[in-house]
């Protein structure tokens, strides 16, 4: 074996492969989940044709988008037109590499972090990458040589720049309490429980609970990811489809991919900064380890229940299968080795998943802002409040020390 193949290299490659696979699957199925959730909010069925419960829908979408003709309109700046979706996807995927999903684990005697990288300035890295995300959108808008696209691009750049400020300020407050820029350190600083039960997450405890910061961060996150109610760059009724009007096929899909990937990343960051990362909601001594099996078992039981009274004929077969899968998962999460290794990951994923659900939920609920409202909201309300919150936090932190 050549000497450059170190355990570190192997571990990194494996982690990269696992993470990339998991992330891509998540992105694909996030679309499905979103459609399903919105459908249920609106009392509809949602996708249900391809596969059981429409589970194969993402696959079908991908095949459709790949096989479609990739039209390159006549008067576009070809280089930038092609570059823009790549930039967007690249910038949205790369920041997942610094997210810590769990505490260090030991596999075959080799201890490794459950994250691809752990730079000392992790959160700055995330900010840096997210600030670069503007380019994809702005370039797409400009290179399309279409005034709606250009407007969409300009709008989205302005929006992202504006909301980056309150977001950075909201991030700074929990950083003050953690005293580090490394995401792993930030999560570690939120471990433990006050009074034995209340977790020391930034949102709950510390010298100044970061509740406002959390809210500000979430609002900015909606704007940064161009989600409803801040989805002005792609406001259909005003701008056709915004900056990606002229895009088709896989290039079009990559913008969606980047949007969902941004969502996932930002939910991970929220979990790390405010919700204590992989730390469970209550101590393991009080049985938090049984949450995962209980949840899966509950899901399995529900599947069986619905399988007994099927709404559609096919459900009679599919739902019990899902039920068995869930029961299996519940069983897996009772195995001690899995508990020690993956229970933190479960908690992390659970929190992130909940936040993603909030994103979808809000999309199904709220109307869109007007552009001037959006801007004045960022500059005249969010920014001062974030600043005030930062000042208060700094004051409290310095008083406590």
């Amino acid at each position: 074996m050549p000497d450059f193949i170190t355990p570190y290299l192997i571990a990194t490659l494996v982690k990269t492969a696992v993470l990339a696979g998991a992330l891509m699957t998540t992105l694909a199925y996030l679309q499905w989940i979103e459609r399903k959730v919105i459908a249920h909010v609106q009392v509809r069925m949602g996708p249900s044709r391809v596969g059981p419960h429409g589970l194969m829908q993402p696959l079908a979408d991908v095949i459709k988008l790949i096989t479609k003709e990739g039209v390159i309109p006549a008067d576009v700046n070809v280089f930038f037109y092609v570059l823009a979706p790549f930039l967007a996807v690249f910038m949205s995927l790369i920041s997942i590499s610094v997210i810590p999903f769990g505490p260090p684990v030991t596999v075959f005697g080799y201890t490794t972090n459950l994250s691809l990288a752990d730079p000392n300035v992790g959160i700055l890295f995330v900010l840096a990458i997210s600030s670069m995300g503007v380019y994809g959108v702005a370039l797409a808008g400009w290179s399309s040589n279409n005034k709606y696209s250009l407007l969409g691009g300009l709008r989205s750049s302005a929006q992202m720049i504006s909301y980056e400020l309150p977001m950075s300020l909201a991030i700074a407050a929990p950083l003050l309490m953690a005293g580090s820029l490394s995401l792993r350190e930030i999560v570690n600083s939120q471990g433990g429980y006050s009074f034995g039960v209340l977790p020391k997450w930034a949102i709950f405890s510390g010298p100044f609970p970061q509740f406002f910061s959390f809210i500000i961060f979430m609002i900015s996150a909606f704007a940064e990811t161009n989600r409803v109610p801040f989805d002005l760059p792609e406001a259909e009724n005003e701008l056709v489809a915004g900056f990606h009007t002229e895009y088709s096929s896989m290039k079009f899909a990559s913008f969606f991919m980047s949007e969902y990937s941004n969502m996932v990343t930002i939910c991970c960051i929220t979990t790390v900064l405010f919700l204590g990362g992989w730390h469970p909601l209550w101590p393991a001594a009080l049985g938090s380890n049984f949450v995962a099996p209980a949840l899966f078992a509950l899901a399995g039981a529900l599947c069986f229940l619905h399988g007994l009274n099927p709404a559609r004929p096919l459900d009679r077969f599919t739902l019990p299968v899902f039920g068995l899968v869930f029961f299996g998962l519940a069983g897996v999460f009772l195995v001690p080795i899995v508990v020690t290794m993956f229970m933190p990951v479960f908690w992390f994923v659970a929190k992130t998943g909940f936040l993603l659900f909030v994103f979808i939920w809000i999309r199904a609920t709220l109307p869109r802002f007007r552009y001037d409202q959006l801007m004045s909201f960022a500059w005249k309300f969010l920014f001062p409040v974030a600043l005030l919150n930062l000042l208060l936090t700094a004051l409290m932190v310095s008083l406590v020390q």
Partner: protein
């Protein structure tokens, strides 16, 4: 290892820098400049300047250059026109530049050949904590003055931009 990454990003930086100067269209120049800045950020990382590397990306690539692109889009600036001109620049420009560059390289190679080699991890004093400590102790006054400067710049930019409206 270091030599590989250095050469990679140095070449990228140089290529992008040349592109900045050679491209006709300002938006191509701007994006090439972003490339220079990001490669420089990587070089900073190799030199142990973690914080500055990130600040480089956030401030330069993420803010300043976005502003440039914004203005280019806003003015819909096209490829440059060739009208009027400076005879001085055309006649003396290239020789002067070459002389300047040659003198600079000569000085560097003559007087700084024996500096210690850069190895990743040699210098770890460039984190946010160290810079923050220095910034808020020895450099407090410059820091505060800089904040005033930024305030002035904001006011100035707004005044100039408002004039543009009426």
């Amino acid at each position: 290892m270091e030599i590989f990454f250095f050469l990679l990003f140095a070449i990228v930086a140089l290529a992008c820098a040349l592109n900045v100067v050679l491209q006709k269209h300002p938006i191509s120049s701007a994006l090439s400049l972003v490339g220079v800045m990001v490669s420089l950020a990587v070089l900073y990382l190799m030199l142990g300047a973690e914080f500055i590397a990130m600040a480089q990306v956030v401030v330069y690539a993420g803010a300043v250059m976005v502003l440039f692109i914004f203005v280019i889009m806003l003015l819909n600036a096209g490829a440059e026109t060739r009208k009027g001109g400076s005879i001085t620049a055309q006649v003396l420009g290239i020789p002067a530049l070459l002389a300047f560059f040659a003198a600079l390289v000569f000085l560097i190679t003559t007087y700084y050949p024996g500096l210690s080699p850069v190895k990743f991890g040699d210098f770890t004093g460039g984190g946010a904590r160290e810079i923050g400590m220095k910034l808020f102790s020895s450099y407090l006054l410059p820091f505060e003055v800089t904040s005033v400067l930024i305030l002035i710049a904001i006011v100035g930019a707004i005044v100039l931009a408002r004039k543009e409206l009426d």
